[in-house]
């Protein structure tokens, strides 16, 4: 326990000081996207890891937040804070509607319904010009400016994404021990039993989905600030699947996995292109290898390595404490 905390503290220190010693490219183009993609994937980890609901619509919800922000700030010319509120509200409300439609089904059927909903949103964005801007989308979206600095300036944006990433991660971890989170894990294991304890299982599924939409919306806002534009491409089928790939690579059941998977994903998409043109094949192979060799994702591998390391260290240094663990 203490050693795990020590490791977490070390990791946090590295992340906090990263802009001081990391290259500008790694800070701005690798870690920053990894953080906001991580937040979107985290909304899936929450649903899948706690609630057993694998959704493919998380990128759609993130994208809708981006559209909401873009529409309010660009098309309607409203200030950024109204854009943020509108973006989050749109993502949350869309998740509520998606949830009401999807939660009656489970497993692969749930997955397929969320894909269908995602595709409906994609088609709508692609064809509607007045709000979504059609095929072009909404261009020239600007991040908020505070004290004369745009929030997307490299170092500032890195710290913003890091802070929001840590906050959402902390929230999801905290949620596990709350009545809401416990009931969510219980319905993953046995929805019928949860029902005969007095819980409205369908309502709880909808609530969890809505909450995940809010989280995805936060990630979506950071994404749209980073890109400075949003178009239907942001929420096409490939992008939807990418979020699932990220979460599975990292370990679907782990909140940490969302960020770990996002980092690996961003690294592969950035560097695979320098030695091969088939980076989708690379991602596909990475995905396949993870699913085949460690269904728990990289988090599973990391946990196993860590416990192995801890055990060998402890037996060497203090064999008497071995039984205490």
């Amino acid at each position: 326990m203490r050693k795990t905390r020590l490791l977490a503290a070390l990791l946090l220190l590295l992340l906090l000081t990263f802009p001081l010693w990391g290259s500008a490219y790694f800070v701005g183009r690798i870690f920053t996207p990894a953080l906001f993609f991580g937040i979107i994937a985290l909304s899936l980890s929450l649903l899948a890891g706690y609630g057993g609901m694998v959704s493919l619509a998380q990128m759609t919800l993130a994208g809708l937040a981006g559209y909401g922000y873009g529409y309010l700030t660009i098309t309607l010319g409203q200030p950024w804070w109204i854009g943020i509120l509108a973006g989050l509200a749109v993502a949350t409300l869309a998740a509520l509607v998606f949830g009401l439609i999807a939660v009656r089904s489970t497993g692969i059927y749930f997955l397929m319904i969320t894909v269908a909903l995602g595709m409906v949103a994609y088609a709508l964005a692609n064809q509607n010009r007045s709000i979504f801007g059609g095929h072009t989308g909404i261009l020239g979206i600007r991040a908020p400016e505070l004290f004369g600095h745009s929030l997307v300036e490299r170092t500032i944006f890195y710290y913003l994404c890091l802070a929001v990433g840590l906050a959402t991660y902390g929230f999801v971890r905290y949620l596990a021990g709350t009545p809401f989170g416990l009931a969510l894990q219980a319905l993953r294991d046995d929805p019928r039993r949860l029902c005969t304890l007095g819980y409205n299982v369908a309502l709880h599924r909808v609530a969890a989905f809505t909450l995940s939409g809010f989280l995805a919306g936060i990630g979506g806002l950071l994404l749209v600030w980073y890109n400075g534009a949003i178009s239907p491409t942001t929420i096409d089928l490939t992008r939807l699947i990418n979020i699932l790939v990220i979460a599975v690579i990292g370990g679907l059941a782990y909140a940490e996995g969302a960020f770990l998977g996002a980092l690996v994903f961003v690294l592969v998409t950035n560097f695979a292109s320098s030695f091969t043109q088939r980076f989708n094949t690379m991602i596909g192979l990475t995905f396949l290898a993870i699913v085949l060799f460690s269904p728990e994702g990289l988090s599973g591998i990391a946990l196993r390595l860590w416990s192995l390391l801890r055990r060998t260290l402890l037996t060497r240094v203090a064999p008497s404490r071995h039984t205490g663990l």
């Binding site: 905290y174 416990l182 949860l194 029902c195 304890l197 819980y199 409205n200």
Partner: protein, 257 residues
């Protein structure tokens, strides 16, 4: 008007009342025109051979299955159309033939969920604190069913008997007015059976108990009245002694069909 009031007060006295309840699965009639009335505080056993429709009847009472015909009243209130979670909140609790607990949650968390399930704000986003009344209640329940030592163990690693104890604790957590126990003694060792019987005897006498039991010792010890189900029908009802002497029942149990 007077007769209506009279009728209402009569039915209100009943903890549970089934009127002509049937359930078909396609061509199969699992429960056929069953009527049953339990007085508050009564201890009733349902016995019958395999496939007699006992568990189906439980599922109908909790609402997990809709009856194809008939009316279910719970303390005078018609609950026939009410979904299970709302019936549970009215003071109904059950256990299952194979214990249903949440294997990846701890014993304490299982009990906590059961306590919270009948309270408002059951989906709160605030973590429980040590001094919360619900947490105190969890410890009392663990003590009651003999799982105090295993509070932080995962429910999935408990033995079959311990899972039964946990499930009983979860059923009692909602402070039910009517407790449905589906074969509580199945798969228990003789020692565990004695503990169970003692626990059932020690239950608050205001709690109405309906139990399905194959073990006649447990059933006849705990129950004041016994209902015999056979091929979905009630074929006999009476005190344990009357049932033990009943010729039809003997024929069903000993003489094949």
């Amino acid at each position: 008007m007077v007769t209506v009031e009279l009728h209402r007060s009569q039915t209100a006295a009943r903890a549970l009342e089934l009127q002509g309840v049937s359930r078909r699965f396609g061509g199969l009639v699992a429960v056929r025109d069953v009527s049953l009335a339990l007085e508050p505080g009564e201890r009733r056993a349902i016995i019958g051979p395999n496939g007699a429709g006992k568990t189906t009847l439980f599922n109908i009472i909790t609402g997990e299955l809709r009856p194809t015909a008939g009316i279910i009243r719970f303390f005078g209130r018609d609950v026939t159309r009410l979904p299970p979670h709302q019936r549970i909140r009215l003071g109904l609790a059950r256990t299952y033939q194979t214990p249903l607990v949440f294997p990846r949650l701890s014993v304490a968390e299982n009990l906590y969920l059961a306590v919270r399930g009948v309270q408002p704000w059951r989906l709160s986003l605030r973590r429980p604190r040590a001094e919360d009344p619900e947490r105190v209640e969890v410890e009392r329940l663990a003590e009651l069913v003999g799982l105090r030592h295993a509070l932080h163990a995962l429910a999935g690693v408990l033995s079959h008997g311990e899972q039964r104890q946990l499930e009983l604790g979860m059923a009692l957590a909602s402070r039910p007015r009517l407790l449905l126990l589906d074969e509580p003694a199945a798969g228990l060792s003789p020692g565990e059976r004695e503990q169970l019987t003692a626990l059932l005897f020690a239950l608050d006498t205001e709690i109405t108990v309906l139990l399905i039991e194959h073990d006649m010792d447990v059933a006849f010890q705990v129950a004041q009245r016994v209902t015999v189900l056979h091929e979905g029908r009630v074929i006999a009802e009476g005190t344990p002694d009357e049932i033990a002497m009943n010729a039809t029942v003997q024929q069903v149990y000993l003489g094949g069909t």
